[in-house]
Structures are given as structure tokens and as C-alpha cells.
Symmetry: C2
Subunit: 360 residues, 2 copies
Amino acid sequence: MPATPAAADAPLRVRVRLAVDCMGGDHGPSVTLPACRAFLQSHPNAELLLVGQPAALAPAAGWERCELVPAADVVAMDDTVETALRRKRDSSMRVAASLLRDTEAAPARADVALSAGNTGALMAVSRYVLKTLDGIDRPAIATVMPNALGRYTTVLDLGANVDCSAEHLLQFALMGSALVAAVEGVDNPSVGLLNIGEETIKGSEVIKQAGELLREAAAAGRLNFHGNVEGNDIFHGTTDIVVCDGFVGNVALKTSEGLAAMLASFIREEFTRGLYGKFAALVALPVLKRLKHRVDHRRYNGAALLGLRGLVFKSHGSADAFAFEQALARAHDAAARRLLDGVKSRIQPAAAPPPLATPA
Amino acid sequence: MPATPAAADAPLRVRVRLAVDCMGGDHGPSVTLPACRAFLQSHPNAELLLVGQPAALAPAAGWERCELVPAADVVAMDDTVETALRRKRDSSMRVAASLLRDTEAAPARADVALSAGNTGALMAVSRYVLKTLDGIDRPAIATVMPNALGRYTTVLDLGANVDCSAEHLLQFALMGSALVAAVEGVDNPSVGLLNIGEETIKGSEVIKQAGELLREAAAAGRLNFHGNVEGNDIFHGTTDIVVCDGFVGNVALKTSEGLAAMLASFIREEFTRGLYGKFAALVALPVLKRLKHRVDHRRYNGAALLGLRGLVFKSHGSADAFAFEQALARAHDAAARRLLDGVKSRIQPAAAPPPLATPA
């Protein structure tokens, strides 16, 4: 093994320690604790720091490879960013993020943090506690959507940044490339710039400038730029990554969720309409189950907050134990594959520090 | 009947004359002519001006309530706006739009025009030939998407305008209100401003300013403003109209199309997988057919180009005869219900001219 391997060649982190905000989300410990237990069974080298109110965490006392970390407050799903930042300084969310803080005096206690708490608060708290990486103006949120190829398309930003410059979009592309390389195991993931047409003359001024920056970055070997893509390409799987500002990304995600919900309710209605519909549903049940499994959004739960000096993942607030466990697994894999080093080396190819040695 | 009725109370236009670009779209006359024939049968008071190359229109010679209007050129689906405007001055698209031009010397020959030709070219040609209405900076494209209530949500703009000001979004809201009042028959249609959260503090600066303008317009009784909506509200049916800039609208539409296509292919795959899948499909066929009918996008074909001094409708380029006939019907209804007067009176309440007298 070379002394300073490139991030992409860095060995897997064998023992990953996750800080889990057990109080966040719509359901709190009733979902997070069972998920953590199942996750520990399938990940024999993982260690968990369970953060929350001691009484709520009592069921986990004595679990192997688990440490309970007390936090007095809970950030509610409808708390403002202001409340989360100023009034709830001992929240489980903030304590979990703090466990990633890495200084010479006090090295990080965890490799990655996960919360199902409210997105705006989690981003603000993480940013406040961890700060952004050198070379990053704004952290972004990246999630995956299933595509027709049976794989996933990673989309960012998903709502953290509404007015983006071309430079921000370039940063999103670089961070997204690091994410997909680490978590999906794709060597040189392709990047599409979300636009309203494939031609380079299409789109707003910012998008056209971003296209130029992305072409330059591709020419310099920093990323694999496919060109402009359109909304349908997200589900077509045209590129591994789709880059857009947070406003557009949020609308695309929510619109998709709305359409999927409508179609699911139409299918339910038609298969329960009248005696024949119910009979058909009975016969078609195995087929409908396979269909449901294919589009089950719980399977790809876990969005990444990218650009911070620490790895933070966000679970859907409404996640059940199965979905939260998937998010734990995604966060674990990102840390095991050294996503943070990958982001650093993509953003600042020259200045990237060598990855830490792996504890044997 | 009062001498100068308000637009909303104006009598239906009994005899509507439609100018049809018969050459546009992926299929040209092989689709447009059968659609026109079927439309004439179901609309005994409609008259058609069929525009195109004489040889291509030959099958329609002698049809009742039809006049053939020759045009030598055809705008191809991949022609640039430049080509459509400068090189093909005698295109079927341009001739069709010209039939709407209304001057004292030469009154309009048609009440509405329909083309399945390429969107960018149709907007540019229509704008060049007809000009925009007083009080409108930029024409917009409005389409409908089905919602969970079994009705339609009208969304605009759909790609004509990428960088919009708050004032433009207000104009879209007013024009969309006129459209829904006329075509869907909703008296006081509700307007949602597409945003990334319901709170008024959310979104970009332009969106926040647009929210203020919309609230002011609502207070003045010019429209029925619901507030901010999110992407999922389009399919939820929260408001009759969803207003956004053309970039966001285009992404929302294309993303929805991509997701719908992916889900349709998943359903097809699962119901043809193995012997049991095929058996289940056979049993479920009546249910699947009902489902397909419910989401059949051909049924709501026909986008409106709003803000011009003439009514132009746009059919999907890939429309078949059934879909093109639906677009003809929508265009007909908009003209019969005097959409143009409706738009004028919403944009300039005081300056709106009285609607034309209906030919008895």
C-alpha cells in the first residue's frame, strides 16, 4: 500500500462509527432504535453512538457496539432554523453533528452522522457545528431517484440553495461525482446539467455559464460531463448525476412524489373497484407486490449533505424502521469508502490531504 | 343582453372558425386530416381553414365547412426559430397564425389557430405575426396535468420564458385565470405560486416578490390567490392553476413525463414476466385498461399560447388523430368562450374592449 494513496484507491475504513440522532423524524426512537438494532446485526464491524434523551434511549442500554450519548433537547419537525440553532443547543441533532467535529485537541468521535430531523434545521446546525470545506461556498443535499435502467440517478441540490451561481453548480457536480464514486462504486460517474433542452444555447444565463465551467472541468479531467439533460433524463438514467439549483431540484423531487402518489392511488382504486377489480387484484397480487418492491422509495432512503467538514446523512422524516435502516447502511458505506476524502480531493485536487490510515 | 357585457358574461361564440396547420407535428396530414374530419362531425357549428401544401391537403377537397388555404413551406420539428422566421415565410404554421391577424382593413379570418409544429418556432412565429397584447411583456405556454381530484391542474409557463421577473409571474397568473375560467368553466379559479415550501419566507427573491404582487392582485379582486404550493400540489389538485417560470415548469413537466414512462414500462414488464405474469395480465386486463384511460395524456392534449393578439393552441408533436382531435376541441372551446377577451379584461380591467357581437 502506498504511503499517500489517492482517495479513490484508499482502503475501505474497516470499522465505521456512526452517530445517530435517535430522536429525529416523525416517529423518533420507536423507529430509530429497532432500525439500529437490525443494522448492527447486518454490519458486524459497525459501532453506533446513539444520541438522545436518556429515558428514550433506555431500551438500548447494554447493546453491544453501542454507546449512549445524552442530549436534553429535541428539534421538532416544525421548528424553525432559528429555534434549532439558538434555543436548542443541546439537541440530539446538534450533539450528533458535534461528534464529527475534528480538531487536533479533540479528534472526531464518529465517521458519519444520521438524522431524520427537519432538513432545514439539520443543514443549518451541521453547517454551524462543522463549517464548510475549503473551496465550497454552499453545502448541497443529494438524493437518489430510481431509473429505468434499474439503477439510481443522484440529483443535487435538493433545496438547500435557491439562487445558485454557475460556480456553485460546478461544485455540486464535483461533490456529486465523489458521492457516486464512493457510494455507488462507479469509477468515473457521468454528470448531466439539468436544462430545458439538450442544445448548449438553451437555458438561463447561469445555466449556460455552468455548462462552460463543466466543460472546462471535464477537459481538465476533473469530472465526466455528459452535457445538458432534461427532466425526463432523471428517470431515463441518461447520466449518473443530475445537477441543478435547489429550487429546481426540489420542484422535480416533489413533483415526482406527487405523481407517484397519484398513480399509486389510481392503481389502488382500480384494483378495489367492484367485485371484478378485487378478484383481479387477488390474482395480480404477486405481480403488484413485485411492482411495489421495484418502486419502494424506502429502499433508497438517505440523502447526503455534501460540502461540510464531516459526513452528515439525512433520512426521510416519515421513514419506518426498514427505511431508516437503509439510510444507516448508506451512511455506513459512504464513510467506509471515505466519501469525505473523495469530496476534498475532487474539490481541491492539489490540496487534498492523504486519507487517514485505517485502524486495523 | 346588455350592450357591453363583461367578458365572463359574454355569450358563447356560436360559430367558431379554426385555422389548422395541417403539416405540423411528427405525422403531418396523415394525423391532422382524420382528426379534422372527426372533429367536424362532433362540432356541427365549427368551420375549418386547413392550411398546408395543396397536394397534401387534396384528400380534404370538397369537405363541408372546410376551406383549403395553400402554404408552400413546412416548418420541420428540428428547424431553428431563425429558419422558421426568416427562411420559411410561406410555412403552414405562419399562414395559420396570420389568419388570426385582425386589422380594420382586414379582419381576422379565424378565431383560433392550432399547430402540432415545434414549440419554439410556433411561439416565435405567432409572436412575430400577431404581436403581444397591451400589458403583456412575454407570452406564456399553459398546459394541463391530471390531478388526484379527477380534474386538471393548469400549469404555466412551460418553457417559453426562462428568466422571469415577479411581474411576469403575475401576468402568467392573470392569463392562466382567464384560461381556466374560459376552458374549464371555473368561475374564480385558484392560483398557486410554485415554491419550495408553503411559508411566504421561502424561495428566491423573485418568487417572494411575485408572492407580494399576487397578494396585492388578490386584494384588488383581480384573481383568487391561494398562496405558495409545492411540486406535489400539481398532482394533488390543491389549486386550479400553478404559476412558475418556464425553466421550472419545463423541468416539472418533463420530469413527470419521465416518471410516468418509467412506471408504465415497469407495469408492462411485471405483467409480461413469466407465465403467471401473463395470466395475471389477462385477468387484470379490464382493470389495466381503465387505469390506462385515466392517465391517457392524449385526452388533455392542447397547450395554450397566452398573451398574443390572437388565440394559438399547440398540440403535442407526437399526437395521434385522437389526441389532435382533443386539441381541436380545446381550441374550439377556448374560442367559443371568448378566451381572448377574457385575457384582455384580466390584464387591463379598465381598458378591455367589449366582446364582439356574436354572429347569430
